[in-house]
Symmetry: C2
Subunit: 350 residues, 2 copies
Amino acid sequence: MPETARSASARTPERRYGNRPTMKDVAARAGVGLKTVSRVVNGEAGVSPDTERRVQESISALGFRRNDSARILRKGRTASIGLVLEDLADPFYAPLSRAVEEVARAHGALLINGSSAEDPGREQELVLALCARRVDGLVIVPASDDHRYLEPEIAAGVATVFVDRPPGHIDADLVLADSFAGARDGVSHLIAHGHRRIGFIGDRPGIHTAHERLRGYRAAMSEAGLPVAEGWLAPGATDPGRVRADAERMLEGPERVTALFAGNNRVTVTLVRVLAELDRPVALVGFDDFELADLLSPAVTVIAQDPAQLGRAAAELLFRRLEGVDDPPRRMTHPTRLIARGSGELPPSD
Amino acid sequence: MPETARSASARTPERRYGNRPTMKDVAARAGVGLKTVSRVVNGEAGVSPDTERRVQESISALGFRRNDSARILRKGRTASIGLVLEDLADPFYAPLSRAVEEVARAHGALLINGSSAEDPGREQELVLALCARRVDGLVIVPASDDHRYLEPEIAAGVATVFVDRPPGHIDADLVLADSFAGARDGVSHLIAHGHRRIGFIGDRPGIHTAHERLRGYRAAMSEAGLPVAEGWLAPGATDPGRVRADAERMLEGPERVTALFAGNNRVTVTLVRVLAELDRPVALVGFDDFELADLLSPAVTVIAQDPAQLGRAAAELLFRRLEGVDDPPRRMTHPTRLIARGSGELPPSD
DNA sequence: CACAGTCTGGACAACGTTGTCACCAGCGTC
DNA sequence: GACGCTGGTGACAACGTTGTCCAGACTGTG
């Protein structure tokens, strides 16, 4: 019987889910129809207690588990959402991610997530892979500055919410912290404590939050009638080596700064290390709060935003869209909060 | 024509992916057969350049994106793996999660993850939801101590690797740090610096790592011929309030401890806060390294394990299984490393 | 006893994709 | 000039589920 042997092996893919039982198998074993099994599995009405018992017995005997891929194909909703951000392990984004997960869970959805590593190509690749999986919605912390590639997806009904940074060249829901006001407040705080020469070290201005924070810095300086020397600005650094070099440059010479403003939590931590090695005190205010900031000496004054709150707001907005709310795209801005702990209240040292 | 109207609306689910184009639509527009579109989309050979161009044009005109749910249903592999751990946002697990993601990415797979919040029921719910999605494999940091519910899944071919803690009542691949040796080394280090009364504060002993660390503590004490008073042990605390209360209890009275060993990073951080308020120095060694440990005063001596390395090892083992390696379950143990920074080298204060 | 109404259950098509197979044209061979 | 070959193409079934619809077995009623 080469016939059957060949056709059987030829038709069957390598190893389909290791030969899992299907509803058909369950139905055969229980002596009922396919649809009856479906009804039991989904808790639908119209099955007699006796039949239900037989089906349940058959299900557990065979170790059946419904294949959600087939279900999704049939129903058209995946009950899953995608989250793309820069780095899952970053202490700023981890709570954001967790908050999105909690909201998803509350809506019975699973979370698929990926890190873009600040690489636009990788962001796009991830987002489109998620779209191919037909996630119901997307939460995106952009790494790219052009999201036109998402237009067909959004048109096709993928709900999309951006967090932390705005999308490029498309209009979509957006949840932001108020970077401009936060940075302005932080720098004004330093000025209020007597500083006149203040350095700014932050991400490259291509990143929206970095741009806004630099703008806030300039606004505070200009409101106080203070000049800004070009040497006091280091927009672009984020790796410890470069931050260190920039800081050391700003801290020497006749025009040296007496205070520093750090554009994000990574920069702040590096600056804490650099300043700890100095013999004179230099004031520091950092954007983003971080664990143990209060236990350092001096404790670090920060502009705090709440990443979990941003994530929650974004996810809730997403699910509101999925429930059919069809307003024009919204932009929500969350305020920041200055937490004075000591490092930002040091007086100028010269 | 009520006929067509009724049947159309009755048969069509609410809103199928917002009416996305399918291969059939692409084929119709390009004037080719369905299978030819499939070939182009998958880069299969046997399509003339001219036809391919027509199909590509049709794809981008319609904004077509392959529906991976259907593809998965047909092919039987999802190219996705699941990760279930306690808390995505925990600074210990975040890098682990990120490492798993990187390995998955290198193998062309997506990562679906969820937090169990240390709740066995939630772990099971999550894991089974992932199985229903037919993830190819699972990486699990157990919250539960009984994983027999996974037996049918594993039998059906879901590759499964446990990390950080062993599974309960089943045999499966496992990647661990050496909690016992780590804790023993840490406590021996304190003893070597003259301490005789040392407190242990850690997770509830139901958690494997906590149990092992407590065992390591006892081993070090017993090797040094030192007695252990019951009041020096606080296995079960992990929330700041309780850790604080336990520590304060241990730090008073005639039998008071001169050093503390912390069972995990959460506990260590809380103890740093408690000890900072004391007027006399108390030595501290903590399990798990954490950011800024070197900048506190005193800097914190820790037993470091590398969560990213654990995650990477687990994910790589998983993909080796998926590639068909069929050895008996392996148990890999990673060594820990003592990093002396100051807090563990303080002499006894009485 | 005929009849409508309720309850249970199953047959069947469809979701969008991929594997198999068959077909057709164009070609070179004996 | 019948032959097989090859390369391009499409028809068709199947993946496992759910929605629709119909059929039979009961009930209670006139």
